[in-house]
């Protein structure tokens, strides 16, 4: 790996393996994956079900640990960090958007989005309010700030989740099938929103998806197959490949 590349890369994965142990059976989910993601990229991870997309995102997001290999996020080898340091990395550097939104039910939309800021303890109340409202504005939910998540539609909830992921202005946002639970129009809106933030703020996005239309927005598509890195292709190539039935 050349050192200049690793400096500008926000995620650097080298020969990473991940095995799940189910009783006595060892299930290899990743079998030695290499991946380099540069700051400002908008990358899609594609591959058939069970190919290891979620596993890979979890490793990048520091919510799971690799069995072998090196995962570097924002220049830090995650194996070397303590649980506390990993949590801080997640809090300050990484934003998460989950397939099933995962909002805190007892908090309002505003409070959900504000939560990471409270954990960070960097901004005062007025600053937090401004930041949260600005993001809610951007995702088009300013008028729903006081609602509880269960009073929102799926698309609205996912937009809240996007706002929560972005509120700390993380360098890296990870999204595991962010549109899978949404209809195509709403999904399209979410992707547009992510793309807009990527272009305006330079935030790096890595998202997994099965949807060719969603994939088409990416700078590059990383394809996985059966836990192996297959290739890294352009969005156009990816849609051609999918059209050819090479899923």
């Amino acid at each position: 790996m050349n050192p200049t590349a690793s400096q500008s890369s926000i995620v650097s994965i080298t020969n990473v393996t991940k095995d799940y142990t189910l009783g006595k059976v060892v299930v290899p989910a990743l079998r030695g994956v290499d991946l380099e993601v540069h700051a400002g990229e908008f990358i899609s991870i594609a591959g058939p079900s069970g190919s290891g997309k979620t596993t890979l995102l979890n490793l990048i997001g520091c919510v799971d640990t690799a069995t072998g290999g090196v995962v570097r996020v924002a220049g830090q080898d995650t194996k070397q960090l303590t649980e506390r340091q990993l949590t801080n990395l997640r809090l300050n550097t990484i934003g998460f958007i989950f397939q099933s939104f995962n909002l805190v039910q007892v908090l309002s939309v505003f409070q959900n989005v504000e939560f990471p800021l409270l954990l960070q303890r960097k901004l005062d109340k007025a600053q937090r309010r401004e930041r949260v409202m600005q993001l809610l504005e951007q995702v088009g939910l300013a008028s729903h700030a006081k609602h509880r998540p269960n009073e929102l539609s799926g698309g609205q909830r996912q937009r809240v989740a996007v706002a929560r992921a972005l509120v700390t202005r993380p360098q890296l946002v990870l999204a595991d099938e962010p549109t899978a639970n949404l209809d195509s129009v709403t999904g399209q809106n979410i992707i547009d929103l992510m793309k807009e933030l990527n272009q305006k703020e330079g935030t790096t996005f890595i998202f997994s998806t099965h949807d060719a239309k969603v994939m088409s927005h990416a700078n590059a598509v990383v394809r996985l197959a059966d836990g192996n890195f297959l290739d890294r292709i352009s969005a156009a190539e990816a849609s051609r490949a999918m059209a050819a039935g090479g899923h």
Partner: protein, 433 residues
């Protein structure tokens, strides 16, 4: 931090039924604890109040006088000088009285009873006046010699009324039988065990019955301004009285009437002093308190264990339900300690609200019982030395009970909370529930 409280609070509100159930359980235990403590403390207070006026001071300077080695009389000879010295040596003293002590037979026309007797100077006994409830006659009748105060049960047994006479029969120090006639001037309400075995007569009546000299007392009862000072005063008197040339017996924490056998077996003759405190003198009865306290302890312990298991179980369910949420919060950067704190807050809030409700209930119940002046069955009255139930209500002990139960609840919640916080974020998030 505030947000964690908010989450905890709202979660309690969201799971209203669970909150009510658990909070109700906590409240019940608290109420029970408050009531049981009230009962125990109330009993102790009643006992202390009755006993320390009927048969003992806070500190007693008593003693035995032996003409021959095997014949002890429970007396202090030459008491005025000793009393004077005590007044000088004990600035903590509120007041002191002298009492005669004896064991005699009360004979009426139809019946007789064996009782202990207290010889008193009614004018110098402010405490007795407050504790004794006179059912017939008047306490001041005892100012005249040749009179006696009986308790209701005794009067009934003897079949005598105020104004009628009884004969008091006893053995003098030298072994002769002697009797005096005494007129019943007052009949007081029963006060449990201590009143069943005691009567009061004027000091000089007692002296003439036993043919004691006028400077002979049974015991000097010292009442202190603050009962906390008992050990200090006891130790000091032991020293100063020894220094003054008296022989002071080794401390023996039993009531005086239980010591005759020991004293009679010893070879010495003459006067020896015995310094005791109120607990020694009613030690034969305080086991009931110990028993009650142990019972209370066991009961509370068992209940706490049951409630504890309930709380743990319910929190377990609550935490399982929210495992995904925990995973999410951990994933977005919440530290383990905060997750722990979030659940601990929930338990803390629940504990505080529950105990507050419980303590209020217990308090109201205690006050109601006190206001109603509930009469207790006779067997109970014997032990608590009072025929009505008195539940002590001390803010400090109620707050203590609240703090204790809240602390237990919170401590119990630590286990599932800790396990939840320890989960890997991804494991937690994938939890189906």
């Amino acid at each position: 931090m505030l947000q964690l409280f908010l989450i905890a609070f709202r979660n309690l509100g969201t799971h209203r039924r669970r909150t009510l159930l658990l909070g109700g359980a906590i409240a019940s235990v608290t109420a029970l604890l408050v009531i049981l403590m009230g009962l125990s403390t109330g009993m102790k207070e009643s006992m202390l109040r009755s006993a320390t006026t009927l048969s003992t001071g806070h500190v007693n300077v008593a003693g035995f006088y032996k003409v021959t080695a095997g014949q002890a009389a429970p007396v202090v000879t030459g008491y005025p000088a000793i009393l004077e010295q005590i007044r000088k040596d004990v600035p903590e003293l509120d007041f002191a009285v002298q009492r005669g002590r004896g064991w005699l037979k009360v004979v009426s026309e139809t019946s007789s009873i064996q009782v202990g007797v207290g010889g008193i100077d009614i004018q110098s006994e402010p405490g007795l006046r407050q504790v004794l409830q006179i059912r017939a006659g008047a306490l001041d009748g005892l100012a005249e010699s040749g009179t006696v105060l009986l308790f209701e049960k005794q009067a009934k047994k003897l079949n005598v009324q105020v104004g009628e006479s009884v004969t008091l029969a006893a053995q003098t120090l030298r072994g002769a039988s002697n009797t005096v006639d005494a007129r019943v001037v007052a009949i007081a309400a029963d006060m449990g065990m201590l009143s069943d075995f005691g009567i009061f007569v004027p000091s000089d009546t007692l002296r003439s019955l036993y043919q004691f000299k006028s400077d002979t007392a049974g015991a000097l009862l010292l009442y202190l301004k603050d009962i906390q000072h008992v050990p200090v005063v006891q130790a000091r008197l032991r020293q100063t009285l020894t220094d003054a040339g008296h022989t002071v017996m080794d401390h023996d924490p039993r009531a005086f009437f239980m010591k005759f056998e020991t004293v009679n077996r010893e070879a010495w003759t003459g006067q020896r002093l015995d310094i005791t405190n109120w607990e020694d003198e009613i030690s034969f009865i305080t086991w009931t308190l110990t028993a009650l306290n142990s019972l209370t302890g066991v009961l509370i312990f068992v209940l706490m264990v049951i409630i504890g298991v309930g709380i743990m179980n319910t929190l377990w369910i609550a935490i399982r339900e929210r495992t995904r949420e925990i995973g999410t919060l951990r994933a977005i950067g919440m530290q383990r300690t905060r997750v722990l704190l979030m659940f601990v807050f929930e338990a803390l809030l629940l504990g505080m609200l529950g105990t507050l409700a419980g303590a209020s209930m217990g308090l109201v119940l205690c006050l109601a019982v006190n206001a109603m002046a509930v009469h207790v069955p006779e067997v109970v009255a014997v032990f608590i030395m009072s025929d009505t139930l008195n539940l002590a209500v001390h803010p400090s002990s109620i707050l203590g009970a609240m703090a204790f139960i809240t602390a237990c609840t919170t401590a119990i919640s630590l286990i599932p909370s800790f396990l939840a916080a320890r989960l890997k974020p991804v494991t937690a998030m994938h939890h189906i529930g």
